[in-house]
Amino acid sequence: MDWIFVAFIVFSTIAILGSLMVVLQKTPVSSAFSLVLVFFSFSGLYALLGAHFIAALQILVYTGAIMVLFVFVIMLLGQDQPTSDLKDSSLLFKGITLLGAIGLLNVLLQAALSSKDIVGKGVYTEEKINEMGGNLKSISEVLFKDYVFHFELVSFLILGAIVATVALAKRKNSLSGGVS
C-alpha cells in the first residue's frame, strides 16, 4: 500500500473524529482544542496534495492566530462550565436532525463519488507548478494576477467587518445631540 494513501486515511480519520468532538464536547475549551486537531490534520491533507504553502499557512493562520483568539474569547467570557444543548432537546428533534444530516451527507457523497469521471486535472498540475517555480510563486501569480479583483474586494469585506465591530462595540451610541 502506498504510504500517501495510509497518511490520507490517518489524517482524514483524525479530521472527522476531531470535528465530531468539536460538536459533542461539553466544555468550550475542549471543543476549541479539538478544532486545533482538525486544523492540524487538514494541514496534513494539504501537504499530501502537494500544497505545502497552504499547509504551512493553515497552521500559522488557523491554529496559530485564529484558535488563540477563540481560546482568548472563551477565557474572557469565562465560559468554562460544561454545557450541552443536546441534552435538553427532545428525542424527536434529535431524530429529525440526525436523519437530515445523514440525508445531506448521502447526497453530498453521491455527488462526490459521481465526480470521478467528470473532474479532470486542473490547469495547475505538479509539473506546471514546478515549471512556474514552486508553490509560493504560482499562488502569488494567481492571486495577484487572475484574482486581483477578488483580493481587493476582500479588503472591503475586512473594512466592513472592522467598522461594524467598532460601531457595535462602542459603549455609547450617542456622543452628543443629533442632526435632522
Binding site: L153, F156, L157, N173, G178, V179
Partner: protein, 487 residues
C-alpha cells in the same frame, strides 16, 4: 488586463468606494455629529446615480478580467438601489435622532452595504458573488443591531449573523461543486460548458441547488423564511426598509442570474429545467399561501410587512417561472422589484415617523382613528397600503399584472389562479389597517406620527411615484423591456 479606458466604465463602483473612505475620514475629523458623514453619503449616492445613468449607453461589456458585467440590467438596478438608499438616508434623520443613533458609522456601513449590493448585481463570477454577498451582508448584520438598548435588536442581529454565515458557507460549498463539474466559476464559461456537455449531472445539480438555496434564504422564500419576521421586528425601521428594498433587489437579481446558469436549450439540461420549475412552483406556492395567511394574523406592523415581503417573494418567483420559459420576461421581475421597493420604501419611511422610542408604537392598534387625528398621514399611508393590495391606479396593480402575464405566457395558468386567491387573502391584511384608521375613533394613548420636513418630502415623492407609475406604467415598462440576461 486592466487599462485606463476601462476606468471610466467603473465609475459607480469607484465613486462608492471613494465615498466609503470619505465618510470614514469626515467622521473622524468631527466625531460629535453625524451631519458631515450624512452629506458625504448623499453626495456619493447622487454621483453613483449619475454615473450609472452614464453607463446605460455603453451596451453590454465585461470589465476587470470578465468578472464585472456592465449591462442595462446591472446599471439600472444599481441606479435604482442607490436612489432608494438616498431616500432612506435623506428621510430617516429624524428617526435616527429619536432612537439616539448618533454615530456616523451608520452611513459608512450603509454605503458599504450598497457597495456590496452593487458588485453583487453585476458579478459574473461565483467567487465575486460570494465576496460581494458578504460585503453586503456584514454591514447589514451590524446595522440590524444598532438599536442597542432593545434586546429584540440584539437578538435579531445575532440571528441574522449566524444564519447569514451558514448561508455563505452553503453558497461556497455549492460553488466548489459547480467548479468541480464545470471547471470554472465564471458564469459565461459555465454556460459555454453546459452547451457541449452530455454526461452525469449529479455533481453539478447538487452544487447548483446549494447555491440556489443560499439565495432563496436571502430573499426569504418559504420554507426558508423563519428568520425574516424576527429580524424585521428587531432592526431599526430605516434599516428594515433598506433590507426590504436594497438587499431584496440585489439578491433577487442574482437569483435570476443563478437560475439561468446553464443553457436549458441543450438536451442534457432540458429534464433538469423541468425539475427546477417544479422546485420554483413549490417554493412560490408556499411563499404565497404562507405569506398571505400569516400576514393577516399579525399585530405588529413590522412583522406584518415581513410576511408581506415573503408573500411578494412568491409573486417574484412566479415571474421567475416565466423567465425560465421565456428569458425576455425578465422585465416583469425588474418592474415588480422596482414597484415593490417604491411602496416599501414609502411605508417604512412613514413608520419611522412614530414618536414613541424603541420602536414600541408600531403595533396595528396604534393606527386606530388616525384619520381624525392626522388625516394627512392616514391618507398617504392608505395610498401605500392600497398599492400593496394592487389597486388599479397605483403601481401595485401593474406590478402584479406584469408578473401574472409573464407566467401566463409561460403556461402557468393554475399558479396565477393560486396567486390571485392569495392576493385577495393578503388584501384583507392590508385593508385592515386602513379600516382601523378610518372607522374607529382615535385612542388618546396610541402613538402619534410626526415627520421631519425631509422625511415628508421623500414620502410625497414616493407616493407620487406610486400613483404616476400606476397611471402611466408604460414609460418604465418600455425602459425595462430592453433588459436582457446575458450568460
Amino acid at each position: 488586463m486592466f487599462d485606463l479606458a476601462n476606468l471610466a466604465l467603473l465609475g459607480p463602483w469607484l465613486v462608492l468606494s471613494l465615498g466609503i473612505m470619505a465618510t470614514m475620514l469626515v467622521s473622524s475629523i468631527r466625531i460629535e455629529t453625524r451631519l458631515p458623514a450624512k452629506i458625504v453619503t448623499i453626495i456619493t449616492l447622487v454621483l453613483v446615480m449619475i454615473t450609472s445613468i452614464g453607463l446605460f449607453s455603453e451596451g453590454t461589456k465585461t470589465v476587470l478580467n470578465g468578472y464585472i458585467e456592465i449591462s442595462k440590467l446591472s446599471c439600472m438596478t444599481l441606479f435604482f438601489m442607490s436612489g432608494i438608499s438616498l431616500m432612506f438616508v435623506v428621510g430617516s434623520g429624524g428617526y435616527l435622532n429619536k432612537e439616539k443613533i448618533h454615530i456616523s458609522d451608520y452611513y459608512n456601513l450603509l454605503l458599504l452595504m450598497v457597495f456590496g449590493a452593487s458588485i453583487l448585481v453585476s458579478a459574473k463570477d461565483l467567487f465575486v458573488m460570494f465576496i460581494a454577498l458578504e460585503v453586503m451582508s456584514l454591514p447589514a448584520y451590524a446595522l440590524v443591531g444598532f438599536r442597542r438598548n432593545d434586546s429584540r435588536s440584539n437578538e435579531a442581529a445575532i440571528k441574522y449573523f449566524i444564519l447569514g454565515g451558514a448561508l455563505g458557507a452553503i453558497f461556497l460549498m455549492g460553488t466548489s461543486f459547480i467548479f468541480g463539474a464545470s471547471g470554472s466559476t465564471q458564469l459565461a464559461q459555465i454556460f459555454e460548458w453546459s452547451k457541449g456537455y452530455n454526461g452525469d449531472l449529479l455533481l453539478f445539480v447538487v452544487g447548483h441547488l446549494l447555491v440556489l438555496f443560499a439565495f432563496l434564504f436571502k430573499v426569504a422564500a418559504a420554507p426558508f423564511h423563519f428568520w425574516k419576521p424576527d429580524v424585521y421586528e428587531g432592526a431599526p425601521v430605516s434599516v428594515t426598509g433598506l433590507m426590504a428594498t436594497v438587499i431584496t433587489t440585489a439578491a433577487f437579481v442574482v437569483l435570476v442570474r443563478l437560475f439561468h446558469l446553464v443553457d436549458f436549450q441543450s438536451t442534457t439540461f432540458a429534464p433538469y429545467l423541468e425539475s427546477l420549475k417544479q422546485l420554483i412552483r413549490v417554493v412560490a406556492v408556499m411563499s404565497l399561501v404562507g405569506g398571505s395567511t400569516v400576514l393577516i394574523l399579525q399585530k405588529n406592523l413590522k412583522r406584518m410587512l415581513a410576511y408581506s415581503s415573503i408573500n411578494h417573494t412568491g409573486y417574484l418567483l412566479l415571474g421567475l417561472l416565466g423567465t425560465l420559459s421565456k428569458p425576455d420576461q425578465i422585465y416583469s421581475i425588474w418592474f415588480y422589484l422596482a414597484g415593490y421597493s417604491i411602496i416599501t420604501c414609502g411605508l417604512f419611511l412613514m413608520l419611522s415617523q412614530s414618536t414613541t422610542t424603541n420602536d414600541q408604537g408600531l403595533e396595528l392598534v396604534d393606527l386606530t382613528g388616525l384619520m381624525k387625528k392626522n388625516p394627512y398621514f392616514a391618507t398617504v399611508l392608505s395610498i401605500f397600503f392600497l398599492s400593496m393590495v394592487g389597486m388599479p391606479f397605483t403601481v401595485g396593480f401593474f406590478t402584479k399584472y406584469t408578473v401574472f402575464m409573464s407566467s401566463i405566457s409561460a403556461g402557468e395558468v393554475g399558479f396565477v389562479v393560486i396567486a390571485a386567491i392569495c392576493a385577495v387573502i393578503g388584501a384583507y391584511g392590508y385593508l385592515r389597517p386602513i379600516a382601523l384608521m378610518v372607522m374607529r375613533d382615535p385612542d388618546p394613548s396610541s402613538a402619534s406620527f410626526v415627520g421631519t420636513k425631509f422625511n415628508q418630502a421623500m414620502i410625497i415623492i414616493l407616493a407620487a411615484l406610486c400613483i404616476i407609475l400606476g397611471i402611466f406604467p408604460q414609460a418604465l415598462i418600455q425602459l425595462t423591456k430592453g433588459l436582457e440576461l446575458i450568460p
